[in-house]
C-alpha cells in the first residue's frame, strides 16, 4: 500500500512552503529516515525525511513550487511498479453557475428596454455582443456601448503626419456628442437682436444690493427670465421626436460654465418651479461646484433649454451649439457703447425666426415690476 510524504509545517504562522529540491526520483528505493528533499519558508530550510522504507512512485511537486502545508510531495510504494494512487481531489469552491445573461448585458437590456427572450444568445449566453448584434439587426446603427459617437460614418483615414492619440476626457466626449447631435439631428438657425444694456445692469445691481449677493447676478437673472419666456411659448422648451414636437413637462436650464480646461453645461433642474432668488442661488451653487469639478452626473445632463455667455472673454457675438434634444439656446455676449447683442441658436424644425425674435425681445428687458 502506497504511503504519502507530505509537506511538513515549519512555522506555526506559515501555511505554505516552497519546494527547493528532491533528492530522489521515481523508482529510487529509500530507507526510513532518509532525506528525500528540502523545503523552505521565508526563514528556514528543512530536510524532508522518509517515514518508511519504500520505492518512490512519483513526485507531485517540482522545485520552486509553493505548496500547501500537508499536501502530498511524493508517494512511496512497496514495489517500484506499484501504481501511484490518485490524489484525492482537494475540496475546492465549486465553479459558479453562470447566469444565462451577463450582468453587463442585463444593464444594457434595461437601458434599451429590451426583453432577454428577444436576444439570440451567443454560445448559450446573452452577452454585450449578442445585444449589439440585435440592435444592429433592428436597424439602430448605434453601438450599445459607445453611443456617444453616434453616426455611422466610414472611419477617417489615419493622417500622414506622425502624432499621438490622446483619449478624450469625459467632458470632451460630451462636447463631441453635443456637436455631432447639432450637426446630425438639429436643423440649426441663428438670429440676433440689439438691446440696451442699462436696464438689465440697473436691475441686477439693485437685486445684488438688496440680497447681499457676492457676485453680480446679471447672467443668472437673464437665465431665469428665459424660463419665464417658456411659459409664454412652450415650444422653446421642446425637441423633435419621431416626427412630433415633444414639449418637455419641466424646464431644465442648461448654462455653460468654463472651469479651467473643462466646459460644463450645468443644468438647473425644474427651473420653472423656482422663484427668482431660488434660481439665482441654485445656479450659483452649480457654478461653485463646477469650479471645483464636483458636479454630479444629474447636474450635467438632461438640459431642455440653454443659455450661453461669452461676455467673460469680451466676445461680442457667437453662435452656440445646441445641446442634444434642445431647440433653443441663448447667446449672450459682451456689450459695447451701452448696446449689446442677444442671439440664439435654434432648431428650425420646431421654431421659426419670428418665434425666436419674440423670445429674445422678452429677454432683452428685465421684468418691469
Amino acid at each position: 500500500m502506497a504511503t504519502p510524504i507530505r509537506a511538513p509545517r515549519i512555522n506555526n504562522n506559515d501555511d505554505e512552503v516552497k519546494v527547493l529540491a528532491f533528492d530522489v526520483q521515481p523508482g529510487t528505493l529509500v530507507k526510513s529516515g532518509q532525506i528525500v528533499g528540502q523545503i523552505e519558508t521565508d526563514k528556514a530550510v528543512l530536510d524532508v525525511e522518509s517515514p518508511a522504507d519504500g520505492y518512490v512512485l512519483g513526485l507531485l511537486a517540482k522545485p520552486d513550487d509553493v505548496v500547501k502545508v500537508g499536501s502530498i510531495l511524493l508517494w512511496l510504494g512497496e514495489s517500484p511498479d506499484e501504481p501511484m494512487p490518485e490524489a484525492p481531489d482537494e475540496p475546492k469552491a465549486g465553479a459558479r453557475a453562470l447566469g444565462e445573461t451577463t450582468a453587463k448585458a442585463r444593464l444594457l437590456l434595461s437601458k434599451h428596454g429590451l426583453r432577454a427572450d428577444a436576444i439570440q444568445p451567443i454560445d448559450g449566453r446573452i452577452t454585450v455582443e449578442a445585444i449589439e448584434k440585435h440592435l444592429a439587426a433592428r436597424g439602430g446603427s448605434q453601438s450599445a456601448v459607445n453611443r456617444t459617437m453616434a453616426p455611422d460614418r466610414s472611419p477617417e483615414p489615419a493622417p500622414d503626419v506622425p502624432g499621438v492619440a490622446v483619449s478624450l476626457s469625459k467632458e470632451e466626449k460630451g462636447m463631441a456628442a453635443t456637436v455631432l447631435w447639432h450637426r446630425d439631428q438639429a436643423v440649426a438657425g441663428y438670429v440676433e437682436i440689439e438691446y440696451d444694456l442699462a436696464p438689465w445692469a440697473e436691475y441686477a445691481k439693485r437685486l445684488q444690493d438688496e440680497k447681499g449677493w457676492m457676485m453680480s447676478p446679471l447672467l443668472s437673472l437673464m437665465a431665469w427670465r428665459l424660463t419665464q419666456a417658456v411659459a409664454k411659448n412652450p415650444r422653446l422648451n421642446a425637441t423633435l421626436l419621431n416626427g412630433q414636437r415633444y414639449e418637455y413637462a419641466t424646464i431644465n436650464l442648461g448654462f455653460t460654465i468654463q472651469a479651467g480646461e473643462a466646459l460644463y453645461l450645468a443644468v438647473v433642474r425644474d427651473a420653472g418651479q423656482m422663484d427668482e432668488p431660488t434660481f439665482v442661488n441654485a445656479l450659483g451653487d452649480l457654478q461653485r461646484r463646477a469650479a471645483g469639478h464636483k458636479l454630479r452626473e444629474a447636474e450635467t445632463s438632461g438640459a431642455t433649454i440653454g443659455f450661453s455667455s461669452m461676455e467673460r472673454w469680451k466676445v461680442t457675438r457667437h453662435i452656440p451649439i445646441l445641446p442634444p434634444q434642445t431647440a433653443f439656446m441663448v447667446a449672450h455676449a459682451a456689450g459695447r457703447d451701452g448696446k449689446g447683442i442677444l442671439g440664439a441658436s435654434y432648431d428650425h424644425r420646431i421654431l421659426n425666426g419670428a418665434q425666436v425674435v419674440g423670445a429674445l425681445r422678452h429677454l432683452a428687458r428685465p421684468a418691469t415690476n
Binding site: 512555522n11 506555526n12 504562522n13 506559515d14 501555511d15 505554505e16 521565508d42 526563514k43 469552491a93 459558479r96 453562470l98 447566469g99 451577463t102 450582468a103 453587463k104 448585458a105 442585463r106 444593464l107 452577452t127 454585450v128 469625459k170 469639478h293 464636483k294 454630479r296 452626473e297 444629474a298
Partner: protein, 663 residues
Amino acid sequence: MNTTTSPFDRDSLGKPVVGPDPKALFAFGHLLRETEKLILDLFSQGLVSGTTHTCLGQELCQLAVVRALNDPDDHVLSNHRNHGHFLTYSGDFTGLVAEIMGRASGVCGGFGGSQHIAYRHFHSNGVQAGMTAIGTGIALALKAKRSKGIVAIVIGDGTLGEGLLYESMNLAAVWNAPVLFVVEHNGIAQTTYTRHTIGGDIAARGQAFGLATWRVDDCDPEFIAKTTGVVEQLRANGGPGMLIIDTGRLGPHSKGDDLRPAEEREALRLRDPLRKLAENLDPAEVTAIEAANKVFLDAVESSAMASPPATFDTTPQHAFRMAVEKDFVNAAPLSANVRQALNDALGQLLAHDEAVVVLGEDLHDPYGGAFKVTAGLSSKFPDRVISTPISEAGITGAGIGLAMASKKPVIEIMFADFLTLCMDQIYNHAVKFPGMFPDTRVPLVIRTPCGGRRGYGPTHSQSPENIFVAVPGLSVVYGSHRHNPGQLLINAVERWPNPTLFLEHKLLYGEKVDPQDYEPLAGGADDLGATLFPTIRRGASDPDITLLSYGGMLPVAERAARQLEDDDELLVEIVAPALLAPLPRQSLLALLANRPRILVVEESHPHFGFGAEILATLAENGFTGKVARLGTPPAPIAAARSLESAQLPDEEAIVAAVLGMLQ
C-alpha cells in the same frame, strides 16, 4: 501679571526651593493648603466647572518627593489628586487656579482642568494607574541617554487595584529603569476604606517585583529627611523603587463625599503633620507666614479672576499634527514579500534614526517575532529591539512615554485582537495629550498583524479596525502588497508625528510587493496624511461597479473583480485606501461622487465602521448611486477552517453582492 512678592524662591528652572527646615516646610505646606481651600471656596461660589480633588492633609506627603527632585531631567507623573505635586514642581499657583476655573491664563489654557496637566516634565491624567507605564517608558528613555534624571510616578493606595500598575512595576524592574513608584497611602479610596480592598501587604508588592522598597509616615519628624534620602538613593542606584507614604486625607475625595464618622475626622485633624509643624514654630513666625501667604493668594485669586474664560481661536476639528517634511531613505518599490518589506523598513529606520526603538513580545533572534517581521534586527540593534514581558497595555504605555521623551517607538502587538488590552493607553492617553497640550508629542506607531483565514479562532483572527477608526486622534494605516508597505511604515515613523495604528494582514506577509497597474490618487488639500498613506485605484474610469476595499481583503476583491470582468463583462474599479483614519474624504469623494454603484468590502464587521463612514460621507454629499456593504457578520470567528471560511467574505460573496446590486 502677578506682581506680588512670591513667598518662596525658585531655582533656575522656576521650581520652588523648599528648604528642609520646619519653617520652610510649614510655609510651603501652608501655601498648598490655603490654595486648596481657595479652590474649594471658588467651587462653592460656582466658579469651578467639573470636579477637583484636593490634597488637604496630604500637603507634606505631596511636596516631600517632588521638592527633592533636583535634576533638570527629573519627571513627575501624577494623578487626579495632583495639586500639591504640581505646585511644588512648578510654583505656578495662578496657572493652577486659573486652569481649574477654566480661564485663559490656566497652565493648560483651560483644556485640562484639575486633573489633566502638562508642564515641562510634569504630567497628570485622570485614569487610575494610567500614567504608570508612561512614566516607565520615560525612565527607559532617560536611562538610554545616561541621564541622572528619575521619574516619580505618584499614585494613591486606591490605585493598587489596577493591573497596569503591576505591568509597569515589572517593566521597570526588568529594564532596571530609574522609576520611583510613590504610593500615597491615606487608607481611603474615594469613600471605600482600602483595608477592605487591598489583599496582602503593600510593601510586599514592591519587594515581589525586586524593587527597593521603603515605607515612611508623613507624621514622622524625620519624614522629609527620609524621603529626600530615598530619592538620593534611587538616583544613585539608577534602578526602580517603591516608596509608601502613610498619610491622612483631611478633606473629602472630591467634594461632599466625605462620609467618615466625626471621631475619625477628628483623629485625622489631630494627626495633621502640618499642624504639628506649626506647633513647634514660634507663633509669631506662623502668623507672619500665614499673612504673607494670604497676601500672595489674594493676588493669585485676583489674577485668576481677571483672566477671561478660555476660548478657542477656532474650535479644533481634529487633533492631528501636520506631516513632517524630511529626507529619509526610501523603501524599495518592489519586494519579495510584505514581511521582507517591513523587515527591511524597520532595519532602515533603526540604522538611520537613533531615536527609533522597537518593542514587543518575542522579537528577539532567532525567533524574530511571531510572524518574523523583526527577524535579524535584535542581533544588529540589541539595545533598540527589545523583547518585552507579555504586557500589552504596559508596553503601549511605555511606548507613549518613550515618544514623549523624543524617541520614535514602534510597538509590535502580537495579534491585533490583543489591542483591546491597550485601549485605555491609546484612547485616554496617547491621543489625548497631543490634542490637549501643544508641547507634547506622541509619535507612537503600533504595528500588529490582524485578520483571519488561518483557523486561529475567535481571539486571534479579528480585524478590529472598525473600533479604532472611531478613536479621535488615532491614525489607522492599513496597507497591502499593492501599496508599498515598507514606505508606509517609514512614513508613519518618520513623517507622521501622531499616534498611529499600523495594521498588517497575516495573509499578506507572504505576498509579493507589487503595485501592478494600481495608481495613487492625489490627496485632497484637506486630506491629512493622504500623501504619506495614499489611496490607490485600478480599473475602468467609467465602471459598472466600484469595489472599495483595503488590507487583507484586497486580493479577494481582485479575484472577484476578475470573475466579474470575465464572466459578466462588467467594468470593475478597485479603490484601496491605505489610510482609514483620518479618512481622506476629499479625494475619495472626488473619485466616487459620480460612480453608479459602490460595494465596500471589509474583513471587519461592516457595521459602525469604515464602510459605514465612507458611505455616510457619500450620502451627505448628494451621492445618488447604489451602495452596499460586505463584511464579516458580527459573531465570533470560528476556529474550524470550514466554519471560518463561511463567515469571512470570499470572492464568491463579493460576486454575489455585486450581482445583487445589479438586479
